[in-house]
Amino acid sequence: MIDSLRKHVSPGWVLVAPFLMLVVVLYLGPILNILWLSLTDPEPGLQNYQKLYTNDTLLRIIWTTFRICLITTIISVAFGYSIAYAMVHAHKKRQKLMLTLLLVSFWISILVRTFSWLMLLGHNGLLNNALETLNIISEPVAFVRNELGVLIGMVHYMVPYAVLPLLVNMQTLDTRVMSASRNLGATGSQTFFRIYLPLTKPGIVAACLLVFILSLGFYVTPAILGGGKVLMVAEYISVQLLVTLKWGTAAMLAALMLFGVLALLYIMSKFMKLSTVFGGSTS
């Protein structure tokens, strides 16, 4: 019996099995719990999911979340792309410095960043004061406490996350391919759009996925920089859990986000091999 098992199960699986079980319990457990809660609280049935049809607010919050995350993703990845490009093409020494700065930025807490933006861009902030002193504006500009503020805060947080996958992707590109393009008579922009951009597509997709999924979970930044008027799903879930005690609604929204992300990955996988996005080979 053991022998026949040994024949069919490679010893590697036996070694990792305990950890695999642990992972399954630690990850799947809470997820199943959420699903269970979304179907049973406050009473068994699908009424939590029905709210998606009957409650305009939920749809509006989901739409706001989706819109903000999408815009954040586009802007962050665009910035991240330029930064990664600059890093790859900088001198070795400067490249190290840039990488250090990038990594250091991961350590700055989101609260500190958020309040820094308030101090910089707020009603009485550095920028508004400077602009007023220079007589460029007569009334402070509302950079924060609105959707613009939320976007600024989120993009600022997300740019380093966008850089990393792009950096990895760009570093593995064969620079001779770009030389070949120039040699064949392509201008700089032709080379960029026809060769460089397509070859960095796996990096772009990975960066977009990473930023979008992380953005979905934001609530500190929207809560503070949005002036209370930009309500996103994560904050709404937290209110339902902690303040209004509507755990079923919270679980339903959490499940929805989870399946939304899974659906996103599934759709992506239809268009390209995910393994190339997550660092597999490109050919």
Partner: protein, 335 residues
């Protein structure tokens, strides 16, 4: 002419120099490359072949000197405007494009009419015999096929000059010989000037109109394969291209090719022996036999003899006389 370029394809390199910091990678290279010629840059690793080629292609700035195309300086023309074809070390095909898209690229970026492009790509696919592979991606081709795609891509816009950097380096021996033939054939048919980089001496000998032997960034000697083989000017040239014995004679150092020495059992030679010695080893290569002969003064001479024409049954340890004609030795420059 498809490339829209009326250049003839002769190149003049004038006192060309390239420094990386204080390191001189290419040193005062003067060279005339004829239109339609198959010119090979031959040299050991690190001798500056790629650097020289990259300067011609326009990917590396020139430190000093000049490059002219048909007598006009192109030193300040950017790579994409030079209209030189290039086959890169490792091919550098566009992995996300099909074979057809790779080949048509140069014409696409020049915004040629669709019909013209399509016809030209077909022509190229015929030339490199890859017609049934047009829709494949490079990743789905063998090394030899990729090499041919790279060639077709570089030739598609009919460049006056084609630069090739060790294009056969990644292929196995048998395939190499096959592709050498095809390359040579293609060169004959398109009539483009080929500047070809290799460190394989046989490849250089069999394919080139002329060979440039390089060492430490400088040109050691230029000439037809025959000239270089028969009349090497330096010890380096003589030993890098083919094998050679070196004789320290009164008027200096001379080169003597192993196959130009005759070997006889001691005392049996019909001419006066030039040297006498004993056979240290015999190696049989089928068509030739190689004798290593110890002569006076600790020296060893290599003698290659046609197996078929060897008249004597010679054994290791046997005393022998070695003879050669006067014209067999070549006096070297910097001996």
């Amino acid at each position: 002419m498809v490339g829209g370029n009326n250049a003839q394809g002769s190149l003049q390199l004038k006192k060309l120099q390239k420094k990386f910091g204080s390191f001189v990678a290419v040193d005062d290279v003067d060279l005339e490359i004829q239109q339609g010629e198959f010119l090979t840059l031959l040299g050991p690793s690190g001798s500056g072949k790629t650097t020289l080629l990259m300067m011609i292609a326009g990917f590396l700035d020139i430190t000093s000197g000049d490059i002219e195309l048909d007598g006009l300086s192109i030193a300040n023309v950017p790579a994409e405007k030079r209209n030189f074809g290039m086959v890169f070390q490792g091919y550098a095909l566009f992995p996300h494009m099909t074979v057809r898209e790779n080949i048509s690229y140069a014409l696409d970026v020049r915004k040629r009419p669709k019909a013209e492009i399509s016809a030209r790509v077909d022509e190229m696919l015929d030339l490199v015999q890859l017609h049934e592979f047009g829709e494949r991606k490079p990743g789905q081709l063998s090394g030899g096929q990729q090499q041919r795609v790279a060639l077709a891509r570089a030739l598609c816009f009919a460049p006056p000059v084609l630069l090739l950097d060790e294009p056969l380096g990644a292929l196995d021996k048998k395939l190499r010989v096959e592709v050498q033939e095809q390359l040579k054939d293609i060169h004959r048919r398109v009539g483009t000037t080929f500047v070809y980089v290799t460190h394989d001496q046989e490849e250089a000998l069999s394919m080139s109109d002329r060979i440039v032997i390089m060492q430490d960034g400088a040109i050691e000697q230029v000439g037809t394969p025959q000239e270089l083989y028969e009349k090497p000017e330096t010890k380096f040239a003589a030993s890098f291209l083919g094998k050679s014995n070196f004789l320290n004679l009164k008027d200096g150092l001379h080169a003597l090719r192993p196959e130009k020495i005759d070997i006889h059992p001691a005392g049996q030679g019909d001419v006066t022996a030039r040297a006498t010695g004993t056979i240290r080893s015999i190696t049989y290569f089928g068509s030739v036999q190689k004798f290593m002969v110890s002569v006076e003064g600790d020296e060893e001479l290599e003698v290659d003899v046609d197996s078929w024409r060897n008249r004597y049954p010679l054994k290791e340890g046997q005393a022998v006389d070695l003879t050669w004609e006067d014209r067999a030795t070549v006096k070297l420059r910097n001996g």
